[in-house]
């Protein structure tokens, strides 16, 4: 495990998960409308997930702060938007967090009209896309680091968002199905979900597990292509290819494989027959999320092991 870059490992994985989760919630909203459900009904099952995304992103940003050796100068980090992808990443992060917070707060208090709130939600989703692109750009644009200047890096980031985000939302949906924590917090009467809403929730869960499975399989396919490209990419790239081909990578893929099988086979078929949130289903989905997250954190550690330049690598690079 790459301990030196732990703050960045946590930040990138968690931020990508929150982007993927926000997109998944948006997709459920669109899907609900297609099913002719009322907006407030759909909100009943998406709100819990939405309120969970915010703290998740904040946690990611707090982790990222530990990467800075002088956080007091953080206000200057957007000075170079014209050429630095890192500046762009921070701007995108602030936009994603800002729009997301505006949406969550106005949704909670019922401020503004529904239409305006939805525009803010769309802006949040677009800012999330911008954040993913900028995050990829930070690594992809470094022409001196061949393991990062590779198209697999943005692919891994997008796949990661689509793997962990939907699984996190699936867990949130199960929480809504089991109990209604929001009603408890807001001291509202607890209405049980009607049959139509349960059917919609189950369909959403199936969709989420399919997206996560496809994303997981995509990661599997990307790895051999990535390693092949590195092992034919010149001295520095070859060095990285041999350095990262370890049992750590094997375990990362093994955990991902188990997560994909659980989400794609067991959870998917279990949802189809479940009339209530059974324990087995909860265990399966939570396990899939935990395994996928662990695997992604390991994968991101391997990503940072790719920091090997063409040219001179100093003692500071070796020591991390």
């Amino acid at each position: 495990m790459n301990i030196h870059e732990l703050p960045m490992i946590i930040f990138t994985v968690v931020a990508q998960m929150s982007i993927g989760a926000f997109w998944a919630l948006g997709a459920i909203q669109v899907f609900g409308r297609y099913r002719k459900l009322t907006v407030s009904t759909i909100d009943r099952i998406t709100d819990v997930g939405m309120y969970a995304v915010g703290p998740l992103l904040v946690a990611g940003f707090i982790a990222a702060f530990f990467h800075l050796n002088d956080p007091f100068h953080a206000i200057y980090t957007m000075n170079n938007l014209g050429s630095s992808w890192l500046s762009r990443e921070l701007l995108a992060g602030v936009l994603f967090g800002g729009f997301g917070a505006a949406f969550a707060i106005s949704q909670w208090f019922g401020w503004l009209t529904r239409g305006i709130r939805e525009i803010i939600a769309i802006l949040t989703a677009v800012a999330g896309l911008f954040l993913l692109i900028a995050m990829s750009g930070v690594y992809y644009s470094t022409s001196t680091i061949p393991a990062w200047n590779n198209v697999s890096v943005p692919l891994f980031f997008f796949e990661s968002a689509l793997l962990t985000g939907p699984l996190a939302v699936a867990v949130a949906l199960l929480i809504v199905w089991t109990s209604n924590p929001l009603a408890k917090i807001r001291k509202q009467a607890k209405e049980p979900l009607n049959a139509e809403l349960v059917a919609f929730l189950r369909a959403s869960l199936r969709g989420l597990s399919v997206v996560a499975t496809v994303a997981g399989i995509a990661i599997f396919v990307t790895y051999p292509i990535y390693l092949l490209a590195l092992s034919h990419g010149g001295d520095a790239a070859e060095y990285v290819a041999s350095e990262i081909s370890t049992s750590f990578l094997l375990w990362r893929l093994l955990l991902l494989g188990i997560a994909v099988v659980i989400a794609g086979v067991f959870a998917f078929s279990k949802v189809q027959t479940a009339n209530q949130p059974q324990k087995v289903l909860i265990v399966l989905i939570v396990l899939a999320l935990v395994l996928a997250l662990t695997s992604e954190l390991m994968g991101r550690s391997i990503h940072y092991d790719g920091l090997w330049r063409e040219g001179l690598n100093t003692w500071q690079t070796i020591a991390g």
Binding site: D70, N79, L307, R309
Partner: protein, 212 residues
């Protein structure tokens, strides 16, 4: 009156004569001493590069080995990749063309260090800021040569406006183990060692990786 060594638009750079360097590292130590750098921060480093191959003459295979030193610091590149990636613009250029770290802005994110193919920007853990060679700006403002140049016992180092250096010593800057010079266009001229290998030949390897 002392000569003006911080002339605007001069585009200063280094010249390094590989054929004279014996790897004594006096330049490295002079730099460390002058700037009082902590352990682990080395603005100028001496890289040992060695390798070998076989030469075939008729039915005879003869070993053909080489080893030479390259003293490298910041090359105050024309396309300074450190300045390009720096999110805060702390990595900036003085009017005389030299690149330095504005510590009042640096956030210590190390992105410049990741990107620089010469390993020039290094983190000073004591200040939390990046640090690098500024071609001894303070010495130059007093009309003195940079510490490394003065310290070299074999006179392998020289400095000055890059155009003058190129006129005097030629255009070579693409010797292994240095990277492809087209990436950053370094203000560096090298008088190559007789066994110098091309940057992309991949014939040798750095034999003192933990010293640089």
């Amino acid at each position: 009156m002392a000569e003006d060594y911080t002339k605007e638009g001069a585009q200063y750079g280094f010249h390094f004569d590989q054929s004279l360097c014996n790897g004594c590292k006096a330049c490295q130590i002079a730099c460390k001493d002058k700037h009082d750098l902590p352990v682990g921060v080395t603005w100028r480093r001496v890289v040992e590069y060695s390798g070998g191959s076989w030469q075939v003459q008729g039915n005879t295979f003869e070993p053909n080995v080489f080893a030479y030193y390259t003293s490298v610091s910041c090359n105050h590149c024309e396309n300074a990749v450190c300045m390009e990636v720096c999110p805060t613009t702390a990595m900036s250029r003085r009017p005389d063309g030299t690149v330095y770290v504005d510590e009042s802005k640096c956030v210590g994110c190390r992105y410049c260090q990741w990107a620089c193919p010469y390993g020039a920007p290094q983190l000073n853990a004591e200040t939390g800021h990046m640090s690098k060679c500024d071609l001894c700006y303070d010495y130059r403002s007093e009309g003195k040569d940079p510490a490394c140049v003065s310290a070299c016992p074999s006179r392998a180092l020289d400095w000055g406006p890059i155009d003058e250096l190129r006129e005097k010593y030629g255009e070579t800057n693409s010797v292994a183990p240095l990277p492809d010079p087209s990436i950053t266009k370094p203000h560096l001229v090298i008088s190559p060692h007789r066994d110098a290998q091309a940057w992309d030949s991949g014939t040798g390897q750095i034999t003192n990786p933990k010293e640089i």
